[in-house]
Amino acid sequence: MFKLLEGPQTLGRGRMFWSCFLVGLGAALTYPLFADSYDVGNFAYFLIWIFMALGLCLMWGYGGMLSFGQTLFFGIAGYGYGVLAINMGGGSATIAALVLSVVLAMIAAGILGYFMIWGGINGIFFGIVTLSATLVLAFFLGQTAGPEWHIGPARLNGFNGMKGMDPLTVGDFYIEGSALYYVMVALIVIVYLALRMLVNSGIGNVIVATRENPQRAEMLGYDVRKYQLLTFVIGSGLAGLSGALYTSWGQFITPSSIGLPAAAMPIVWVAFSGRSDLTATLVGSFLLLFGFQTITVYSQQAALVLMGALLLATVMLAPQGFVLGIGKLVADWSRGRRRGDGDVIAEAGRLQSEES
């Protein structure tokens, strides 16, 4: 099974790559020992969004489905976690709330995905239908300010957002600060490795084959719609995981994390990073989030202008993504230097046969 960690669908293999991976992981694990708790909390905040980016990478880069609805499922699970955590009471029930809210997002994705995929919607329309649904949810939640909008004791509170839910708790122990950070790191490692296995497995190959040419995949005997739906549900579920973790992290969620411009953010991260590879998305999204947060402190608008400019620059200059492009350059350079040691470097450039 662990053989699937490496394969034709993912860049990075061999001793050198995994050594880098372990060094990165080691740095992430020891980081809280050196930093103060405020910085650790901030870092945990960046990590929240990684799931959403990886989910989009799976759908868009591997499955060829450009979903603009990541924040839709982020919002469903985020609000879902809040409503469930408030209604079921705090304590260990918050873990159940987390799981249930992600399941809720996946069910919503299953329903929306069924209508779109079985209806044969693809390409551009897939994007704008998911975006329309996202914006409608944001508008809806924005006007739930009145006291009549509540689910049990949980008030939705319109634009001001929902608050008052407990953070993730085990027994009497609140998972906050460093503990939350470690939970996030563990979840990211699990999700990242699991996705690598998924895309290199038989299912993953069918997903990629569908992206390359749906008709051909269908002629080979696969019901591509099922594979597309599976991809959409997993990708959207990961956005849901981000949403539930976000609400738990801040004990707070507002409609502005669903609507524009929030809906554009996952697209920018993944496009900039290089949608066709999970590792590039992981690294690139983290860097962008870090940069974005640094600038947001001074001016949120300026940071968003920069994100827009990055998106424009990416599609005009490096449609495959900047991080992926730089990664390939490094790989090429390194391969040129140690020719013959093909085991070390991934088959860089293998993923070029892509039609956006």
Partner: protein, 288 residues
Amino acid sequence: MSAEVFSVFYQFADVFAFLILSAAGLAIVFGMMGVINMAHGEFIMCGAYVTVGLVNLGVPLAIAQILAAVTAGLIGVLVEFLVVRRFYKRPLDSLLATWGLSLIVTQSMLLIVGSAVRGIGTPEGSFAIGGYTFSTYRLVLFGCAVAVLAGLYIIFMKTRFGVIARATMQNAAMAKALGARTGRIYAISFGIGTGLAGLCGALYAPTMTLIPTMGATFVVESFVTVVIGGANVLLGTAPAAVFLAMIRMALNASYGQIIGQIGMLVAVILIIRVLPEGLSSVLVRRGR
């Protein structure tokens, strides 16, 4: 009795005008080039701001609105030349590029202009039928929507430009081989599309609060109308708007705006399951 009938028509006309005016520009660009202009809302915003700016300078409203539409159209031609032109072979990338543009414009406006600008009131004037009072301006908007459809019909069906444009739409390579300057046709079409977006913003500017993010108010309606309408503006967008306006009107009247919007979205999602290519595919097939 006639007052009730008129009241229903009035509500229908209100929603219909909103759908047509917000979607026409998007539909033209999509129909001609297969590109969805994600900065559509920003061109609407541009039209609204130019209108209000000119009116505050003392220009009469109607002239300000025409100038605003022309401005948005010219900016559109510029954007086509600088950005969109490169992406006709990569429609998904055009989506991303125009979205990037939209982010840049909205957020820069927030930085420069700030969150709200002093608006101009809705033009006075109302009339009464039976016990009900109606705003004249809403009927003017309906008239404008019908005029836009009629204008598009004339431009695309009765002029030389229209013939060449339809030829380009059907088979760009062949049209080019026959001597049509397809590049110019695309630029002009994009300009017409963004000009119509500007007109939409100009017409609705007196009725709403001006904020840089106001484009988002229009994009859902324009997206779903185009999704249902498909690639043909006259045979797709217009019937789609009639259909969606009826659903929306019924829901608006009984449950309010937001439920109307949700109902419209649900209807769209159900319809794409049966008609993935939109209404125009059915109507065009019938016509043959």
